[in-house]
């Protein structure tokens, strides 16, 4: 199963776990399985059907937007990281 690392403030929604093992053949399927397992995560990660604009997903240190996005294939040994963008002023 693919591992997804959970940002610190979202861990209350994963039972305190910093990583969650998920099923799925693609990044999109893996994220869908994550929010199926932990539905309270969904509003923090998604705005409607789309990932929130500040949410980045890295597959083994590579931004999936530079790969095939949600269609990027994942394997059991892979780790996905959810990393926020932040700006301000």
């Amino acid at each position: 199963m693919t591992t997804i690392r959970i940002p610190t403030p979202l861990r209350p929604y994963t039972g305190g776990n910093s990583a969650v093992a998920v099923s799925g053949a693609t990044v999109g399927e893996a994220l869908a399985d994550l929010t199926r397992l932990h539905p309270q995560l969904r509003p923090h990660l998604y705005d409607g059907e789309e990932l929130r604009s500040f949410v980045n997903v890295y597959l083994n240190k590579e931004d999936v937007r530079g790969l095939q996005g949600a269609q990027t294939a994942v394997a059991a040994a892979d780790t996905l990281m959810i990393i926020p963008s932040i700006a301000g002023g």
């Binding site: 403030p9 979202l10 209350p12 500040f54 890295y58 963008s85 932040i86 700006a87 301000g88 002023g89």
Partner: protein, 142 residues
């Protein structure tokens, strides 16, 4: 509540002063117990806002830098618990832009005022769960 040592707070203030007149920024590492974010290390990061002459009132952290800090923190048994940035010649109050471009609720958003290159007051903020604004949280200097 945000907890940090006086030495760490000073380190963050020094980074704000060194970044002046631009905004300085970085990540706070430590542990979160749900009630408090306890900071044990600060990682200053480049302000990568793309327009140089707007950096006195804008900051951006490269997500790739955040990713690297997250991996380092994991190796050290730490978590990213907050973000710090400076407000050159402006009060340390979260701005509408800070709200619009915030990350997740639950992080501490520490802002330090820098006046004419000298660091001043810091205030820390928590994003409301509905992302509609920030509320101030106490800072406990240990």
């Amino acid at each position: 509540m945000l907890k940090l040592t006086k030495e760490l707070h000073n380190e963050i203030k020094v980074h704000g002063a060194a970044s002046y007149p631009h905004e300085g920024c970085g990540l706070l590492l430590g542990h979160s117990d749900g009630e408090s974010n306890v900071v044990v290390a600060a990682r200053p990061l480049p302000n990568v806002w793309p327009v140089a002459n707007e950096k006195p009132e804008r900051f951006r952290i490269d997500p790739a830098d955040w990713r690297d800090v997250e991996l380092e923190a994991m190796d050290e048994g730490l978590d990213v618990v907050g973000i710090f940035h400076s407000h050159p010649d402006h009060p340390p109050v979260a701005s509408p832009r800070d709200v619009a471009w915030a990350a997740f609720a639950g992080y501490s958003y520490l802002i330090t005022q820098v006046v004419a290159g000298t660091p001043g007051l810091s205030r820390s903020w928590q994003l409301l769960p509905d992302r509609s604004g920030f509320v101030e949280e106490p800072i406990e200097e240990e």
